[in-house]
Amino acid sequence: MFAVEINDLVKSYGPFKAVKGISFSVSEEEVFGLIGPNGAGKTTTLRVLSTLIEVTSGKVTIFGHDLVKEASEVRKVISYLPEDAGAYKNMTGREYLKFISRFFHDLQDSNAMVDKAIAIAQLGERIDDKIDTYSKGMARKLLVARALMIGPKLAILDEPTSGLDVLNAQEIRKVIKKTVSEGTSVLLSSHNMLEVELMCDRIALIDDGLIIESGTPIELKRKYNATNIEEVFVGAVR
């Protein structure tokens, strides 16, 4: 079974077509990267897969669940980390994690989830401080921890290391890799081509609402005679 299977997905906002009929699949325990220029349709695709916005046409299944007809089942197996996500600033880090864990208490042990998230976030004693006082990097680590603490079957991560310094970004990548080894599939979008190359098993390049290229990093580099994914990106988009 595919973790994600998309067939001819179209997403329109009125007359504007943000996604113009894309198809791809993500295998179980695979890290799949969706890359492309700004406004290409990456975030729209991730928002559709996260059940946030409606499908205009096409078919999407996540672990066999139809995205439109079984949205509530889809939400039980996914975890979405938006690019510019925030947390409730009046809560402490721990309170926020507890708040989120309560929505999954039927599926898992809340305390175990919170403990796992605290270990991922590595905020030390600051976990009991108000989120309002966190730096951008600390807040991002908390949100990544929130996304991964439930051990989702599919983690949809939009710029997971956005706002993090090199060391923290590396740490988060390790955590994501570890989560994959525990059975999570990952669909990630990033502008950091090094991150994409390091993390992803396969990559799809989206431009103007269409997938213009896809394959493993090695296949793509070979095809474009490139030394890294950044050169692939430039070659494909131009």
């Binding site: 906002y13 009125g14 007359p15 928002r47 996260s50 059940t51 946030l52 916005i53 409606e54 509530s72 939400r75 039980k76 996914i78 975890s79 979405y80 938006p82 510019d84 996500a85 925030g86 947390a87 409730y88 600033k89 989120i100 929505f103 999954f104 599926l107 949100l143 929130r146």
Partner: protein, 433 residues
């Protein structure tokens, strides 16, 4: 264009938006309506008051009094039966039936005040409702002056105090089918107006505060980017909507209770200082009445919150949320102002329809309606509020499942319409079909 002109243009463009203009236009419309209503009262003041007149004394002084009253008023009944007179006054929108009883003249000539029995037809407890009745008081002043002049000319030995003030009034007020002996409409109006001001004020404050909480909560969720996470959690959109509404309703009810306690102290101090006890005239509310007022208030609060949730869906951030509270504020203020000025029963039909259509009117009117036995109007109001709540909550839940929740805008084809909300509902219905 100069630098300052560039800034002015940018500021005007930023500030002069539909969300700032529409509330102002609504307020202007409300003032125009109130002005139109007040001008009707002014016209009625300029006209002669309509009264009924019964002379049971048939003396020179009573005839003088009747002549003076007839000159300065429009007499619609001039017979001998109080029952018939009351019926005519009631049916022909008269203000009062004035009866000069037998013994009027002999009392005055024996240095006692002559009694004039007035049956007041009180139609509403609002400020504007009591204004026309004051014209009748003006008639009595003129009547006293005529009698005084006659006494000075024909009966110079009369006690000067009686010459100055030859008559006394026995008031009987008939209000909404209830006959209240020994009390004038102005006294009733002053006591009732305390309620007519304070109850709507509490309702307005609770609705505005609880409503703005919901809208700003939505604005904050969007501004702080927490909504997207919430929407991808394994919880239905219906549960999110109800969770937010119930949370705000609990806080709103706590606020209402706090206001009510303050209001209770206010009322008890007012009643203890008042010369009349409304309970003596049966103007009280029993336990069932208080429960009905509570239900009406709760439903109005829930209707406000559901409306605010719909408005909150259109907000993009905290600043926009602040502006979005304006329509709710005006919807709450319109019935408050109208109720302070006038009684529901004396409003023109158009205004009555408007008042009934605004769900927040009903708890404002409930106490007075229950006091005067208009339970059916209160129950109809509660029924309407319940339907309004169900419809608005349905729309809120439906919108919560749409892209508009995140985009905060209606798709462009609908925006071009003169009635974007109507277009959006039409769009929702057609999609459902």
């Amino acid at each position: 264009m100069s630098s300052i002109g560039t800034i002015v243009r940018k500021e005007v463009k930023e500030l002069l938006t539909p969300s700032t203009l529409v509330p102002i236009l609504i307020m202007a419309l409300v003032f125009a309506m109130i002005g139109n209503f007040a001008s009707g009262v002014t016209v009625s003041l300029a006209e002669k008051p309509i009264i009924g007149l019964i002379d049971q004394d048939n003396s020179n002084l009573s005839r003088l009094a009747c002549e003076n009253l007839s000159e300065n008023s429009k007499v619609i009944y001039n017979g001998s039966s109080v029952e018939t007179g009351l019926s005519v006054v009631e049916n022909e929108s008269g203000l009062a039936l004035m009866v000069i009883p037998a013994g009027f003249s002999s009392d005055i000539l024996s240095n006692k005040s002559g009694t004039v029995q007035i049956y007041w037809e009180m139609r509403g407890a609002g400020v504007m409702d009591s204004v026309p009745l004051s014209t009748v008081s003006g008639l009595l002043v003129g009547m006293d002056r005529t009698i005084s002049t006659s006494l000075m000319g024909d009966h110079p030995s009369t006690d000067p105090s009686i010459v100055i003030s030859p008559t006394k009034i026995n008031d009987t007020t008939i209000f909404k089918g209830r006959e209240m002996v020994g009390i004038s409409p102005l006294v009733i109006s002053s006591v009732m107006s305390q309620q007519a001001t304070v109850v709507p004020l509490i309702v307005v404050m609770v609705i505005i505060m609880a409503g703005s909480m919901v809208i700003t909560s939505m604005g904050s969720e969007k501004e702080n980017k927490t909504l997207e996470t919430l929407l991808t959690l394994p919880i239905s959109r219906t549960s999110i909507v109800f969770g937010k509404l119930i949370g705000a309703a609990i806080v709103g009810l706590v606020m209402a209770v706090i206001y009510m306690v303050g209001f209770g102290y206010y009322m008890s101090s007012m009643i203890s200082g008042s010369s009349i006890d409304l309970a003596k005239y049966g103007l009280t509310i029993d336990a069932v009445g208080f429960i009905l007022v509570g239900i009406s208030l709760f439903l109005a609060l829930f209707a406000a919150l559901a409306l605010c949730m719909i408005l909150g869906i259109f907000t993009k951030n905290y600043k926009a949320a602040q502006m979005m509270t304006m329509p709710i504020t005006f919807l709450a203020l319109i019935p408050m102002f109208i109720i302070i000025f006038s009684d529901f029963s004396t409003l023109p039909t158009g205004m009555q329809v408007l008042m009934f259509a605004i769900p927040f009117s009903h708890p404002m009117m409930a106490m007075q309606n229950l006091m005067f036995g208009n339970t059916s109007l209160v129950l109809a109001g509660i029924g309407y509020e319940a339907i309004f709540c169900i419809v608005t909550m349905f729309i809120a839940v439906t919108l919560f499942k749409k892209d508009i929740l995140l985009t905060g805008r209606i798709k462009s084809s609908s925006r071009k319409s003169a009635f974007p909300i109507a277009s959006m509902i039409k769009d929702l219905i057609s999609r459902k079909g």
